[in-house]
């Protein structure tokens, strides 16, 4: 039994790391078709975000009064809104803005959260105490409400939506980073690097932090969907994105006024796009977790 295990370990060592990763990736995607679907969904979303403005049949801001509130037809796939703008074009164009807001918010909180968490996990002591208190205070607020307060205080701009979303997501990254760094800070390979004369900072960044990236990535993609929901929620209540701009949250908000009179297409299509985006990121997060950490599979 032990001899067999030795053989298989030996064979694993011979194949290069990237090839093993690729095999594992192929295994996970083919074993779970849902994950494959999520990867495809992500690719489509990125393509639409980049190419969207070149693909749309109508100008998303051009209004034609005589064509207002027309239901979906061959000419206008998703119908037209109260100003006669093509809903399909607006939904497609909005992809870029929505992804941009949530990606920058998540990236911001990833970088800052990882730095705070890693420093707290590695040096501990007073910095750990202080940052812990700070993060606990953020978590003591209902997070969406805190975001509302921050945007209201700092000013009603898209930039502040990004900052507010980043702040409310900060604790999640900082906590994962802190825990992952703390369990590794005295691992054998870290001690070896320390003995060979690496400075603390170099050790933390090059040796420890790189090894915490997989769990951080999982947190990232699980968090993306939530970030999109938050940003869209903020613009739904009238914060951040201003009226003529195409953005899913504000489009649903505008369409909401027409639901009671039966014009469902105004709110349905942007809402469905939003839902699909969040769904994709959540599935992706679950899939990535399987890829990184098969033991936590549920």
């Amino acid at each position: 039994m032990s001899a067999l295990a030795g053989v298989s370990v030996g064979r694993q060592r011979q194949t290069p790391a990237w090839q093993r990763q690729w095999q594992h990736f192929r295994y996970v995607t083919t074993a779970n078709p849902v994950t494959l679907l999520a990867f495809i969904g992500l690719a489509v979303m990125i393509a639409v975000a980049i190419l969207g403005p070149y693909l749309i049949p109508y100008d998303p801001l051009a209004s034609l009064a005589e064509k207002a509130l027309k239901p979906p037809s061959l000419e206008h796939w998703f119908g037209t809104d109260q100003l006669g703008r093509d809903v399909f074009s607006r939904v497609v164009v909005a992809t870029r803005l929505d992804l941009l807001i949530s990606v920058s918010a998540v990236a911001l909180s990833f970088v800052v959260g990882a730095a705070i968490g890693a420093a707290a996990g590695y040096w501990g002591d007073w910095f750990d105490q202080l940052s812990g208190r700070l993060l606990d205070t953020i978590m003591a607020f209902p997070l969406f409400v805190l975001a509302m307060g921050i945007v209201a205080a700092a000013g009603n701009t898209i930039q502040n939506i990004v900052i507010a979303t980043a702040i409310i997501n900060l604790p999640f990254y900082a906590r994962v980073a802190r825990a992952e760094v703390a369990i590794r800070s005295n691992a054998a390979y870290v001690q070896a690097a320390r003995l060979s004369g690496s400075s603390d900072l170099r050790l933390l960044i090059c040796t420890i932090f790189l090894n915490t990236l997989p769990p951080m990535m999982v947190q990232l993609s699980l968090n993306m969907g939530w970030a999109i929901l938050n940003a869209a929620g903020l613009s739904f209540i009238g914060l951040g994105v201003r009226a003529p701009t195409a953005e899913w949250g504000i489009m649903v908000a505008e369409g909401a006024n027409f639901i009671i009179s039966g014009e469902w297409w105004l709110a349905l299509f942007p809402g469905a796009a939003l839902m699909l985006a969040v769904f994709t990121f959540n599935l992706l997060g679950d899939g990535l977790r399987d890829l990184v950490d098969p033991a936590r599979r549920t």
């Binding site: 208190r133 606990d136 205070t137 953020i138 978590m139 003591a140 607020f141 209902p142 997070l143 969406f144 409400v145 805190l146 509302m148 307060g149 921050i150 209201a152 205080a153 700092a154 000013g155 009603n156 969907g225 939530w226 929901l229 869209a232 929620g233 739904f236 209540i237 009238g238 914060l239 649903v252 908000a253 369409g255 909401a256 639901i259 009671i260 009179s261 039966g262 469902w264 709110a267 349905l268 809402g271 469905a272 939003l274 839902m275 969040v278 769904f279 959540n282 599935l283 679950d286 549920t298």
Partner: protein, 341 residues
């Protein structure tokens, strides 16, 4: 005695949290872009009136002094005045809080009533159709934007089927508000024996509560399933089975009671989501709670009102968490054991 010490220490733990919340809300007020005095003075302010307000608000004082006077104001229950309505913010918040609480608590009740049995069934019959349903509900539930589900429900149940009442507030215009006892219209209606009013209020409440409940269903169901699975696979459960206890006892007394602890802990996070989503649902259904108050205030940059709202929500959240912590202490079998020993 053990319980009292535990509960007392939970109360004490909430004090630094509350203090942190007050500091953050204070700092948010000072983070206003430009001059807060100009903000509070309103659009038609002259330089003289701005200067007057600056002195009146104490904005010419150093920051720690300002903080102390902020604390004193809070102690006197003074959150400032709303620019648009001219009413003190505290009065308006207190008037509207029952509506928000009624919605939130009813929604939580609904989602716990569905999610916990669903999670248990999914864990007991792992990989059956119930488990698949649970998995679907969990993944779909966290992906649904609350405001979108709300609109969808309104369209289908109100516009298409005509079952639900129009999404305008807590009670149809044709009914008189029952005399206020709890502030919850359904309960007040029942207490006043005005059955028709209570029924009408319940009908108004149902759709927003279902919307909010759908959102909180996912995390509760996921946690119930996971912690039930952990409990079912444990050694003490195998021992209980081996000792010949019947399935019902094993499931509900041994497994569920132990699985309950992580579920109760998750509720804290769920509250955070619920209170946030509450704002969105209140907007969709024109629910006259503190969420729609804050939205109206945000649109016109009525700053004191938004501040008061954030503070009220945070205090509500801490209170709910405190209640959960105390509940946790009461149901934790280990603490009970220590007390007896």
């Amino acid at each position: 005695m053990k319980y009292f010490i535990q509960i007392g220490s939970r109360f004490l733990q909430a004090v630094p949290t509350l203090f942190g919340i007050i500091v953050v809300t204070f700092l948010l007020t000072r983070a206003l872009p430009g001059d807060p005095a100009a903000y509070f003075a309103g659009a038609a302010a002259t330089p003289a009136s701005i200067a007057e307000i600056r002195t009146k608000l104490g904005l010419d004082q150093p920051l720690p002094v300002q903080f102390l006077s902020y604390l004193r104001d809070l102690g006197n229950g003074n959150l400032g005045q709303s620019v648009t309505t001219g009413q003190p913010v505290v009065t308006e918040l207190l008037r509207r809080i029952p509506a928000s609480l009624e919605l939130t608590l009813f929604a939580l009740l609904l989602s716990v009533a569905v999610a916990v049995p669903l999670g248990i069934l999914a864990a007991v019959r792992q990989d059956s159709w119930v488990d698949q349903l649970c998995r679907f509900v969990v993944t779909a539930g966290v992906s649904l934007p609350t405001f979108f589900t709300g609109l969808l429900l309104v369209y289908v149940l109100y516009f298409l089927l005509g079952i639900a009442p129009a999404p305008i507030g807590r009670l149809d215009m044709t009914f008189l508000t029952p005399p206020q006892v709890t502030g919850f219209l359904v309960i007040d209606g029942l207490l006043a024996r005005e059955w028709a009013t209570a029924w009408a209020a319940l009908k108004q409440l149902l759709l927003p509560a279902v919307t909010l409940g759908l959102f909180t269903l996912a995390p509760i169901a996921r946690m119930t399933r996971a912690s039930m699975l952990a409990a079912l696979g444990s050694e003490y459960l195998r021992t209980a089975r081996a000792a010949g206890l019947d399935g019902q006892t094993v499931l509900f007394v041994y497994a569920f009671r132990n699985a309950l602890l992580p579920i109760v802990t998750t509720l804290g996070m769920v509250f955070s989501f619920t209170l946030g989503a509450n704002v969105l649902v209140e907007k969709v259904f024109a629910w006259p709670g503190i969420g729609s108050y804050a939205i109206e205030a945000l649109v016109v940059s009525d700053y004191a009102a938004v501040q008061g709202f954030v503070l009220a929500m945070a205090v509500l959240f801490v209170t709910l968490n405190l209640a959960i912590d105390i509940l946790y202490t009461l149901i934790d079998p280990r603490i009970g054991m220590e007390g007896r020993a």
